[in-house]
């Protein structure tokens, strides 16, 4: 028994990263972000609006939330669709009540299926592309023409129904193939939110010029805390409030602005027994409004470019 010599060879062992995508830096050794005067914590709220087809192909890997039962898996299909029919409107109301801005990451197929919803969301905030649907996860096994088609179809559908230029991308389940960043840059995308390795935006290299990566926390996501970790809705509320308080303290004690990035799923947090916790979080944040800069991803991307 032994392994090939390549298992003891370390070809990418060098200063910095083991790839060329971004420079190695530590958050605290960068210059402080210049949020507007007096604001120590930027707040980015993103809502992911998703379609899970009843007949998934699921080649490669399944996004969390995909069908799990034998066909036709009506229970998961409809539970996800609940978010688009009911849950999203509860989130919109909560945003309205606390006068908060948000971005909406939308699957291209949602635009085709529910143009009303996309028009409604486009009036309320910034539209981000979220891939074609939740079964179209990007990975190295996807045929290049297919991946290109998913990106083009998504951007076309969203631009058409939202009447907004779409410059941002969040992959379904934050999935990417090795070539996804190149395809995004070529398609006119300026920033993406798939890499959760930081707490501030940073520049990301592609063969077709740089993108900005905006880290959209997985660990603070409703679906992750409630759906994967099976923590209660109250625990979710506590954890987000603890995170906000911690980041505010850190920003104020170090003088370095911080970013709280919250990703929401209408099919998770939009349930009637959970939405109250989102309202509790929003009320907590609104009470610290004098310290908060409620921002949108296009602004964060601009900030990173200036840096």
């Amino acid at each position: 028994m032994s392994l090939d010599d390549k298992f003891l060879r370390y070809d990418k062992l060098r200063r910095g990263m083991d790839h060329e995508r971004y420079a190695w830096t530590m958050l605290e050794q960068r210059s402080a972000p210049n949020w507007p005067v007096g604001k120590s914590l930027a707040l980015w709220i993103n809502v992911s609006v998703e379609h899970f087809p009843l007949n998934p192909d699921s080649a490669g890997f399944k996004a969390p939330g995909n069908m799990t039962m034998p066909y036709p898996d009506l229970r998961h299909y409809t539970l996800r669709d609940y978010g688009n029919r009911v849950g999203i409107f509860r989130i919109l109301e909560a945003l309205e009540r606390h006068d908060l801005e948000a971005s909406f990451a939308i699957n291209g197929e949602i635009a085709q299926r529910y143009p009303y919803l996309v028009r409604r969301l486009a009036e309320r905030g910034e539209i981000i592309a979220h891939g074609w649907n939740m079964d179209c996860t990007h990975h190295s096994g996807v045929d290049p023409a297919t991946e290109q088609h998913w990106i083009d179809a998504t951007l076309d559908a969203l631009a058409h129904y939202s009447n907004q230029p779409v410059r941002g991308w969040l992959g379904p389940a934050r999935s990417q193939s090795f070539r996804t960043p190149e395809l995004l840059a070529q398609a006119g995308i300026r920033w993406m939110a798939d890499w959760v390795n930081d707490e501030l935006p940073y520049s990301f290299n592609t063969e077709h010029g740089p993108l900005v990566n905006l880290p959209l926390s997985l660990e603070l996501e409703d679906r992750f805390i409630i759906g994967d970790n099976l923590h209660s809705e109250t625990e979710y509320g506590d954890q987000i409030i603890d995170a906000a308080d911690f980041l505010l303290d850190e920003a104020q004690s170090t003088g370095h602005g911080r970013l709280l990035a919250l990703n929401l799923h209408p099919w998770v947090i939009g349930q009637p027994h959970r939405i109250g916790q989102l309202e509790r979080i929003f009320a907590h944040l609104a009470a610290r409004r004098q310290d908060l800069h409620n921002t949108l991803p296009s602004e964060l991307a601009m900030w990173a470019k200036v840096e």
Partner: protein, 317 residues
């Protein structure tokens, strides 16, 4: 076919053969320096996971097809964001870390190691990368990997590498023997006790297990057991209270293993801070490193414990 299967089974040991039975109530009485009841050590794991490593036949490095952007970025967060945050917290309590180190970090991100060395922390080996497993390596290959990692620590930090936590907890039957032969003095890979214990090596070298902990390891807590942050704080406090009470009779060890990519998130630090407040608010604690615990035990209790185990085994025979 049948014959082959039997041979495979008999090749595998039913018992690792690393230690003999030593009941909790039949041991040398341990006294830590300054009459402390509990030796507390904090073990930050400082790790590098590769984006596209060679695929080990026994274990996949990533759950998703490469590039597993989510898995990779989740861990990279620890290096970019988490370590400095975690260090600031440990500094508040005067806690020195004993670092379980992917030694590739010495080359990839020496800035982090410099912060560690400024704080006079201990470095011990956690392999080269946490995406290179022991599985499948032959004895020479594993020795090469172990010696290589120890040498990297000596070259960069001028420290002798005393401890080993196998990369990603991947072992062979020879792991501990090889590490002891290369000059190591303690292992973190065994979870059978709340005190240091002698470990048998084929070379007969004096060698100990220092209790690390899986139950209080933040990655096991958060990723495997999916525990709420505040409950993790409660668990640390409960474990400490019990080990502190029992430590009046004979000194105990409590380890808090940490990963900046887990505990370094903003919703998790307050709970750890509260737990450390509780632990460090007690007088009779020894804030130690893994090496200090191993050496103290080797010097004062190892040989007595070996003799007691031999006596017990003889009496039972």
């Amino acid at each position: 076919m049948e014959q082959e299967r039997i041979e495979t089974v008999t090749e595998r040991k039913a018992d690792p053969g690393l230690y003999d039975y030593l009941p909790w109530d039949q041991r040398p009485v341990i006294r830590w320096p300054n009459n402390a009841r509990v030796a507390i050590w904090v073990a930050p794991n400082i790790e590098f996971y590769e984006l596209d490593p060679p695929l080990n036949p026994s274990r996949k490095p990533w759950p998703r097809p490469h590039p597993d952007v989510l898995g990779y970025a989740t861990r990279d967060y620890g290096n970019r964001v988490g370590h400095m945050r975690m260090m600031r917290l440990l500094d508040q309590f005067g806690l020195r870390g004993s670092v379980s180190l992917s030694t590739a970090m010495l080359t990839h991100h020496p800035e982090i190691i410099d912060l560690v060395l400024e704080r006079n922390w201990e470095l011990f080996s956690h392999g080269i990368y946490n995406t290179r497993y022991t599985y499948g390596l032959n004895e020479d290959q594993e020795r090469e990997m172990i010696v290589d990692a120890m040498q990297r620590i000596r070259d960069y930090a001028g420290q002798h590498c005393d401890g080993y936590l196998a990369p990603a907890l991947s072992h062979s039957e020879h792991t501990i023997d090889l590490f002891a032969e290369a000059g190591g003095t303690y292992t973190c890979d065994l979870f059978h006790d709340d005190q240091p214990t002698p470990v048998k090596t084929r070379s007969g070298k004096r060698f100990v297990s220092v209790p690390y902990s899986l139950e209080l390891n933040d990655t096991i807590v958060y990723v495997v057991n999916r525990i709420e942050p505040r409950r993790y704080g409660d668990m640390i406090i409960r474990a400490f209270d019990r080990l502190y009470a029992e430590g009046e009779r004979s000194g105990t060890v409590m380890c808090i293993p940490l990963h900046a990519y887990q505990v370094g998130h903003p919703h998790r630090l307050a709970a750890l801070q509260r737990a450390l407040d509780h632990v460090c608010g007690h007088d009779q604690v020894w804030l130690a490193t893994g090496r200090e615990i191993a050496h103290h035990y080797l010097e004062h209790y190892h040989d007595e414990a070996v003799a007691m185990m031999a006596r017990i085994a003889q009496e039972e025979a």
